[in-house]
Symmetry: C2
Subunit: 317 residues, 2 copies
């Protein structure tokens, strides 16, 4: 591998001059600049990024800690990050954690070891305090709401309120909800919105997948007291719920009104009533926060959710 010293020798200049040419610095005579360019060409020189990183103390790389690379909404956030990082000439490393704490730890280690300049936490299992103790090593931005933390998030409380309000407008009073991981920040906010307005309690927890939605359907069918509408925590769960009910001969929305959450392709395909979340936007903002100068002030950005009227809700009669 040829290095800048070789170039300097070839072009009859100092390594400093070579470095200046490489980085488009001013104060280089045109002929010397030319000489360096020719040397680069002749020797087939290619800059070693690792050396740049060591010398500058920066990697121009952000880390992303997220549970699953291939779950639609995590992937959508990742796509937003990818786009914003690209625009800023940054790269990103991804840690797929499966919500396993030891895996999450590896992303934190990378920050401490200066492998990444900043870390975006899309979702996590580790206690917040454990993560925040790594802020000394670099910026950490969350895609979930937490107090006193740099974050970009959607207000799940308000989003769920929108859904509940719609159902109540349609005359539903016996309303159920599906939650994902029961203790997550999101679930707590959703539950909060729910308990404020709903008398009967139909809470289905630990629902994450299409299959979980089908399970909810089976539980619903066996219940004596049934809600007439269910607000789910994701379009996936809603899809599983809807399709299982229809398979068993029930009508959706005739027998049960269902609202999804995410605004995914699934919702589009099933013409589902849902609450759309601009996940890519969350990712873009998250990246932009990592490079913001006033990050110490721990700015927070709330992105809006959008109620989408579909065909899976009917008025309750």
């Amino acid at each position: 591998m040829t290095n800048i010293r070789d170039l300097a020798r070839e072009a009859n200049v100092s390594v400093t001059t070579v470095s200046r040419v490489l980085n488009d610095h001013p104060y280089v005579a045109n002929e010397k600049r030319q000489a360096v360019r020719e040397a680069i060409e002749k020797l087939g020189y290619i800059r070693n990024q690792t050396a740049v990183h060591l010398s500058t103390g920066m990697t121009k790389t952000v880390g992303v800690m997220l549970p699953f690379v291939d779950h639609p909404y995590h992937a959508a956030i990742l796509q937003g990050i990818a786009q914003a990082a690209f625009d800023a000439s940054y790269r990103f490393l991804t840690w797929q954690t499966n919500y396993v704490e030891t895996h999450e730890q590896l992303a934190l280690d990378a920050l401490a070891q200066q492998e990444i300049d900043a870390l975006i936490v899309v979702s996590h299992s580790l206690p917040l305090s454990a993560i925040l103790s790594y802020e000394q090593y670099g910026p950490i931005v969350f895609c979930e709401h937490h107090e006193d933390v740099a974050a970009v998030y959607i207000d799940h409380y308000t989003a769920f309120q929108q859904g509940l309000a719609h159902l109540r407008q349609q005359g539903h009073t016996s309303i159920g909800i599906c939650l994902g991981r029961p203790d997550s920040t999101n679930s707590l906010a959703r539950k909060h919105a729910y308990q404020e307005v709903v008398r009967d309690e139909f809470v289905y927890e630990q629902t994450l997948t299409i299959e979980d939605g089908a399970t909810v359907a089976r539980r619903w069918m066996q219940q004596k007291q049934r809600p007439t509408a269910i607000l789910t925590a994701s379009d996936h769960v809603a899809a599983g719920l809807i399709l299982e009910l229809r398979k068993q001969g029930y009508q959706v929305p005739g027998d049960l009104s269902v609202i999804g959450f995410d605004g995914s392709e699934l919702a589009e395909v099933l013409a589902m009533t849902t609450i759309a979340i601009p996940y890519a936007t969350i990712g873009r903002h998250a990246f932009q926060l990592t490079v913001r100068e006033d990050l110490v002030a721990r700015p927070q950005i709330e992105v809006p959710s959008t109620f989408i009227a579909g065909t899976t809700v009917l008025p309750h009669t």
Copy 2:
């Protein structure tokens, strides 16, 4: 930042000994090892990975060049890569290219600049030869079939043959196909399988999204000569096709039989007949190829596709 020199001073040993302790090398007296450990603890030392990378000439990082982070099957490949890389204590950098050649180039540059040890090309626009000219800088593995290249791929020819055979068994003779990017390796293989057995030509090109599927539906409705069955290039296209037809009052599969491709959640939800591809497996194999010692032999791995009988095909009468 405290470094190994500080540790050496604190523990009264040489930097070499410190390095040995750090890397669990033999030939270190227990008491010295202990002294170093204590110094690490006391000074709060954390290893700088960039320096390790520079010194070893490796980054333990692979690059992934792929068009879209959030398209389901690309994300599924990425998830396989993430998993295999994790198992091997590797990290991965992702370049989302949108099929833009200048973006793809950045991933190649990263390989040349030793920012990554190897590159996985999930899909690309650049000419193959342009990519292969970077093999001098490190291993390059493809997730598509090309001659004389390290690759893991599915045989689109055989996969499409399966679908066509099924339709013909069901009595269909007037069969259409949807293709994605018309000149991609995959499309050519698919077209090949198609033209071998089908008389009438109903080829719908440039179909990639759900919306494209709806467009195909509108074209189909306007045709005087119509195929009785369509083999699509993705579940997305099939979903758009099916839903638009149903919206317009046509029966699927009554008026048109449809076969998807991918085996995605969409297919599951619509109970679609489709051809399932183990995308995560492709990703895993791709990563494993990058670290294989006999990579110079340019090994190729073919992964099998699976025909999934659903409810979107009826016999032609």
